[in-house]
Structures are given as structure tokens and as C-alpha cells.
């Protein structure tokens, strides 16, 4: 293990390399372009594949092609680029080939801006492309977490033969923190007999998402639904901070989670019993765990850098059993811990009256 100060985007690249990523395809878009540049430097030196594609459409389809060969493959992008990729994300999900996609989210909608935001939550967790699919989505809050999540993403992609996504906002992409990088690994791969490696000594393989005939496509869909049930049962991840005796449970993820953590510390110093519930997988969302935690509290708060997208999952989890106060910043504005603390105080006062 080596500890080094790294920028988030570069750490993403290095983590992927250490996890055995054999091919990276990407396109420049702020605030994740450093991932592309980092990979352009490192991958050729390692004899691995790097292509700067003509667009995000090109990049995600190159990913699809290389994933069909069973190799560990990744792309990274930011929100508008992620929108471009949706059609092929849907194809990849249906075809059941493993791949990793990192979305460094920024202000939207439209061209938006290049500041950090969390407004791609719906798109990532509810299936931004067409059809009944989901993709495991990890939401790191620190550079160390994003390194761990990139490695985990490749493992989960292999385990389920699915696309796995990492959602980190532009703050995480751009900032620098010390990280412990994993050792360079030749990963243990699962059964790849389905892959398009050339039909030598075996019948040919076909990777497709086309299943003409409703009965056929229904079968495929039911298989995917079974897979998602398995994922929901086994891959939920979340973090709890000062929740044992919390009256106010604040739900936040990624950078917002980090900001809330500071605010909770200050609130506790003021005698307010606040705590943070931080989803680490936003799909599968920790519904049961949040429900349990909220049932022991008096109030729930949700803090997001969006108009309230995870808010809907929090309402689903808690069944609106407790009052929920939402605090959101839009358009790439990042809240300060003081801002969140004001909200916590308001909630605490409300409870007192």
C-alpha cells in the first residue's frame, strides 16, 4: 500500500489501472477531463488500450465493444456526456456484459456549468436510458472512497455481469487528498465463456440486446429482475455517523454527506442530537436500514445539491412517517456547513415548539 496526495480524477484513473482495467475510452468534458489525460499518459506505457473517442457516443460504444470481449473496461464522463451515453447504457444492461462508468456530476440541466452538483441522481439510479433496468451506483464522499469504489465497481461488474457506475460530483473530481492506493493486481476474473473471443473450439457466441418476440424479451427481463433482487439483497452499502441517539436524522450522500458530517459535529457541540445517514450505494438504496434508523428518530432532514432527487427515495424508505425537511442547493452551488447547521437548528427549534 502506498499513500500519495492525489487529485480525485487522477486517483480514479490510477485505481482503475490497479484494478486491472485493460481499456479506457473517453472524451474530454469538464470537470473530469483529467481522468482522460491521466489514462492517456499511463495506459500506453502499460501496453493497455486508450482511445480518445470522437464523442461520448463513440466512447460508450467502444466500451460496449471491448466489454463484449470480456475485458475490464471503463469510461468516465460528466452529466451532459452521461446523457449522451444513455442509449448504450440501456443496451449494455440488457446484454449483460461487465463495464464501469464514472460520472463526475456537474450543474444542469442543459449545458449548465462545471460546478459540482448532484442532479443526475434520478438518471443514474432510476435508469436514465429506456427500458426496465438498473445499474449499481456507488456514491463516494472522499478521494479514498472513490479509489475503493472504482476497484469495487470492477468486482461487482464481474460478479453480476452488469454495468456498474460511480457517481462523484465535480468537487471530488477536482480536489486533492491523501489516498492509499491498492497494489497493482491481475484480477481474478469470473467465467468468460460467453465473451466474443472468437469461436475457437466452441459454438459461436452472440451478444445482443435484441429479443424479437414478446415471450423472449419477457424472459430476459425477468432474468434481469431476478438479478436486481439479488443485488438489492446483497450489495446495499451505507455509513452511519452519530445515529445511536439521534433525534434528527440527516440523509445525504457524496460531498453533501461530507458537509453534513461537519454540520452534525457542530450541532452536537450545541447539544442538538443530530446524526448522518449516508447512503454509499444509491442503487441499491438502503431503504430498510434508513426506515429502521428513522423510526427511532423524531425528524428527518435531507440535504442534496439538487432540487430533491434522493428525497423521493427517503420518502419511500420512511413512508413519510416522520416530518421531512429538505435543504437543497441548485445549479452547482455547494452548501457550507454553516448553511446546513442553520437548517438543523431550525428543525431542532421546530421540534421544541
Amino acid at each position: 500500500m502506498s499513500t500519495v496526495l492525489m487529485k480525485g480524477n487522477e486517483a480514479i484513473g490510477e485505481a482503475a489501472i490497479r484494478a486491472g482495467c485493460k481499456a479506457y475510452f473517453g472524451y474530454p468534458i469538464t470537470p473530469q477531463t483529467e481522468v482522460l489525460e491521466y489514462m492517456s499518459k499511463r495506459m500506453p506505457k502499460l501496453g493497455r488500450v486508450f482511445v480518445q473517442a470522437e464523442s461520448e457516443l463513440g466512447a460508450i460504444n467502444m466500451v460496449y465493444g471491448a466489454a463484449c470481449a470480456g475485458e475490464r473496461v471503463m469510461t468516465s464522463t460528466s452529466s451532459p456526456g452521461f446523457s449522451l451515453m444513455q442509449e448504450t447504457v440501456s443496451y449494455i444492461a440488457c446484454s449483460m456484459v461487465p463495464a464501469v462508468l464514472v460520472n463526475i456530476t456537474r450543474g444542469g440541466p442543459g449545458l449548465g456549468n462545471i460546478q459540482p452538483a448532484q442532479s443526475d441522481y434520478f438518471q443514474m439510479t432510476k435508469g436514465g436510458g429506456h427500458g426496465d433496468y438498473r445499474a449499481i451506483t456507488l456514491a463516494p464522499a472522499t478521494i479514498q472512497e472513490v479509489v475503493d469504489h472504482v476497484v469495487l465497481a470492477f468486482e461487482l461488474a464481474d460478479k453480476y455481469r452488469q454495468l456498474v457506475m460511480v457517481m462523484a460530483d465535480g468537487m471530488i473530481g477536482q480536489m486533492m487528498e491523501p489516498v492509499e492506493l491498492p497494489e497493482m493486481a491481475e484480477p481474478q476474473r469470473p467465467d468468460l465463456s460467453w465473451a466474443l473471443t472468437g469461436a475457437k473450439d466452441r459454438p459461436k457466441n452472440v451478444v445482443t440486446s435484441l429479443f424479437l418476440g414478446a415471450a423472449n424479451l419477457e424472459k430476459i427481463n425477468l432474468q434481469l429482475q431476478e438479478l436486481y433482487k439479488e443485488i438489492e439483497a446483497n450489495e446495499v452499502r451505507y455509513e452511519e455517523y452519530m445515529l445511536e441517539d439521534a433525534d434528527i436524522v440527516i440523509v445525504a450522500y457524496g460531498t453533501a454527506g461530507r458537509i453534513v458530517q461537519t454540520a452534525v459535529k457542530h450541532a452536537r457541540e450545541m447539544g442538538i442530537k443530530a446524526g448522518l445517514f449516508r447512503p454509499v450505494t444509491v442503487y441499491p438504496f438502503p431503504y430498510a436500514q434508513l426506515n429502521e434508523v428513522a423510526s427511532r428518530a423524531k425528524q428527518v432532514m435531507v440535504v442534496e445539491m439538487s432540487a430533491g432527487q434522493m428525497l423521493e427515495d427517503v420518502r419511500l424508505a420512511t413512508r413519510d412517517a416522520k416530518p421531512i425537511r429538505f435543504f437543497g442547493k441548485l445549479g452547482g452551488v455547494v452548501p457550507l456547513p454553516e448553511d446546513v447547521l442553520q437548517e438543523i437548528k431550525a428543525v431542532a427549534n421546530q421540534a421544541a415548539t
Binding site: A53, S55, N61, G198
Partner: protein, 253 residues
């Protein structure tokens, strides 16, 4: 004792099945030629095909090699990914004029300009077959289609695009030729072109494209024989057959 000698048979790389193509459609001929070339080059166990969206979306049911089904227009990007991670394999895309010359043109141009080491078989029949006969970017001025019911009006819908000429201007393109399959002589020339194109990628010489001027009897509203005559009378004058880019060294393959 009489000995039987096989002088002609179905290619091994062609599945022994019926296709869904319309009677008289040139897809049948081209599929067979691709399979013959795969047999003769003995590359079946390292060939990967990529099927488009279009009439040949089910090409993977007919040619017996590993196959992927691409999103509309994106086969050349998929081929890029597949070939880059498996450079010793033979990769080909098989695409129609909607897939290649409309939605997929950006991916085509960039695969060619990067000199990607795969082959595109481009079936140009100046119409969208699978979706019921709409205008293609290759539809001729004045040609009646289901979305140009009064004939393609160049003031409204612009002019057809000539893919071979376009791709031949790119340095990464090693081999870009236009052929057809309207008679035995042309079919033999087409087969030679496909063979050469595969050899170009196997020699790592760059991007190869074989454009096949093809027919659509159903949507042109013609009999198969009439459609072959229409290719010769109307399409070939606009899309002349020939070699548009053949780089140094290809002739020695």
C-alpha cells in the same frame, strides 16, 4: 470405384438456415461471399462480426462467427473497442445506408481517420429497407420513397452522400472500394474486394471499406430483375464502381 469430389458447397461459415430477407435481395449474396472469404482465409475461429440496425440486424443468425448487435450507427465504435482489445482477431461491421451514412457517419469517419484495423461491408441500396422504405442519405434526387412521396426534392432534402469518396479522403483509410452484385462478373469482383479488405486489416494496414451498391425490390416497388437493372441504369451512374483508395502495399497482399 467412383470417387465423389466436392466442387461446390455451402460455406462452412454460413448457417444452414433460411434467411428472412426478401426474395431477390442482395444481402443473401453478400452474406454468402463473406462466409466464403472467412472459410478461404481460415479465420472463422477468430472473426467477430457486428450487426447493425437495419434489414441485416439478424445477420448473426446467418454467419457462423462470434457476433455482437450494435446500437444504430454505432457498429464502427463497437468494432473499435473489440479490435483494440483483441488486435489479432478479424473484426468486421456489416451496415446499411441508414446505419452508416446517416446516424453512424461520425463514428464511421472517426474510425476511418484513426485507421482502425477492421473492415466495413457497406450495403448501399438508396433506401431504408427495414423500416418500410423511407429516404436514406443515399436516396437519389427525384427518387420516390415513403418519406419523399413526391420524389426527393434537393431544395428540401439536399443531396445524396457518396461514402467511398468521402472516406477515401482520410489518411487512415487504407482501402475503400465500391462494387455491386448484379451479375456473376461483379459478384466475383466483389468477393475479391472483401478478401482484400480482410487481408488489409490482417496486415495492420488500416481501415477498409467495401461499399456494395445493392437493391431493395420490395421498397423500390420492382421485381428482383427490374431492381438489378435499376442499379445499373440509375444507381451506378451516381455511385460509380471502382477503387477509391488503395494504399501502397495492398496490391501485394
Amino acid at each position: 470405384m467412383l470417387q465423389e469430389k466436392v466442387v461446390f458447397q455451402k460455406p462452412h461459415a454460413l448457417h444452414d438456415t433460411t434467411t428472412h430477407y426478401c426474395p431477390g435481395c442482395i444481402h443473401g449474396i453478400v452474406h454468402r461471399l463473406v462466409a466464403e472469404v472467412i472459410d478461404e482465409l481460415d479465420v472463422r475461429d477468430r472473426t467477430i462480426g457486428i450487426a447493425p440496425v437495419g434489414c441485416s440486424v439478424l445477420a448473426y443468425n446467418y454467419i457462423d462467427v462470434d457476433f455482437a448487435e450494435a446500437a444504430h450507427g454505432r457498429a464502427t465504435a463497437m468494432a473499435t473497442g473489440l479490435k483494440r482489445v483483441q488486435p489479432g482477431h478479424v473484426v468486421f461491421t456489416y451496415q446499411g445506408d441508414g446505419d452508416l451514412a446517416a446516424i453512424g457517419t461520425n463514428e464511421l469517419i472517426h474510425a476511418a481517420t484513426r485507421g482502425e484495423q477492421f473492415t466495413t461491408i457497406f450495403i448501399n441500396n438508396a433506401i431504408y429497407g427495414m423500416t418500410g422504405g423511407q429516404m436514406a442519405p443515399t436516396t437519389l434526387p427525384g427518387q420516390v420513397t415513403s418519406s419523399t412521396p413526391y420524389g426527393r426534392d434537393v431544395h428540401q432534402a439536399g443531396y445524396p452522400v457518396r461514402v467511398c469518396e468521402l472516406i477515401s479522403t482520410l489518411t487512415g483509410t487504407a482501402y475503400a472500394v465500391r462494387r455491386t452484385a448484379t451479375n456473376p462478373k461483379e459478384i466475383r469482383r466483389l468477393k475479391k474486394a472483401i478478401t482484400t479488405a480482410f487481408k488489409v486489416q490482417m496486415a495492420g494496414m488500416g481501415y477498409s471499406l467495401v461499399e456494395v451498391i445493392s437493391n431493395c425490390p420490395t421498397n423500390w416497388g420492382m421485381t428482383p430483375i427490374e431492381s438489378l437493372k435499376w442499379i445499373e441504369a440509375s444507381l451506378i451512374p451516381y455511385y460509380p464502381l471502382g477503387d477509391y483508395k488503395v494504399i501502397e502495399g495492398v496490391s501485394r497482399l
